[in-house]
Symmetry: C2
Subunit: 123 residues, 2 copies
């Protein structure tokens, strides 16, 4: 079983990759059969190929991420974070709360992102 420390490190690594990585490098943090439901209520992306495609949409943007709060319970984590994305002269800021589950090797087995369009701030 992944420890609290393993899970926290895996979340920090994920946010680092979301800020600096590619669709492929972010998807590599996920288990082969993982699911990504973003936002919660949408049809989940299933499997690493679909997950890579999902994240590849952000490759052409300039991004930064900050971890605001994290709570770990067993092999699961809930965390509040900020993503700032610059696209075409506009800055989009959103601070979702994500829930992730992890395998024994600390790979991400599922991600669910809680946010709604009202939470997006464009400046």
């Amino acid at each position: 079983m992944a420890t609290t420390d393993d899970v926290t490190k895996a979340v920090r690594k994920y946010l680092e990759e979301v800020a600096t990585g590619t669709g492929r490098s972010i998807a590599a943090l996920y288990a082969a059969d993982a699911t990504v439901e973003d936002p919660v209520g949408s049809e989940p992306n299933r499997g690493r190929a679909a997950i890579e495609k999902f994240y590849s949409a952000i490759e052409q943007t300039e991004r930064s991420t900050d971890l605001l709060a994290i709570r770990v319970a067993g092999n699961s984590a809930a965390f509040h974070f900020r993503v700032v994305t610059k696209v075409g002269g506009q800055t989009m800021t959103i601070e979702p709360i994500d829930v992730m589950t992890f395998g024994d090797d600390a790979s991400i087995t599922s991600m669910r992102a809680f946010w709604s369009p009202d939470d997006l701030v464009v400046s």
Copy 2:
């Protein structure tokens, strides 16, 4: 379907009841067949009677709650909050992240609380 506003109000009402209510009044916010998994990974309390028993443990304490952040996605919410509990001269502070789902009438259909013992601060 409950609106974002309905869900946010239901979370605020829940935190108000956790601060000032009884096991019965808190359980009344839940659907009859709801589940409470607190912390995530523990055996869930199933049904309103079990939920009432779970919350009645806090009736003899002096408590306050504060909502720190909430994100709503459809009929679900994730929220970060603070609970301060005074028992026998000690003050216990914990700031979990909870995930709730809601019915169309904004009753709580499930609650999962993300925290670990390390997150409890005793002063």
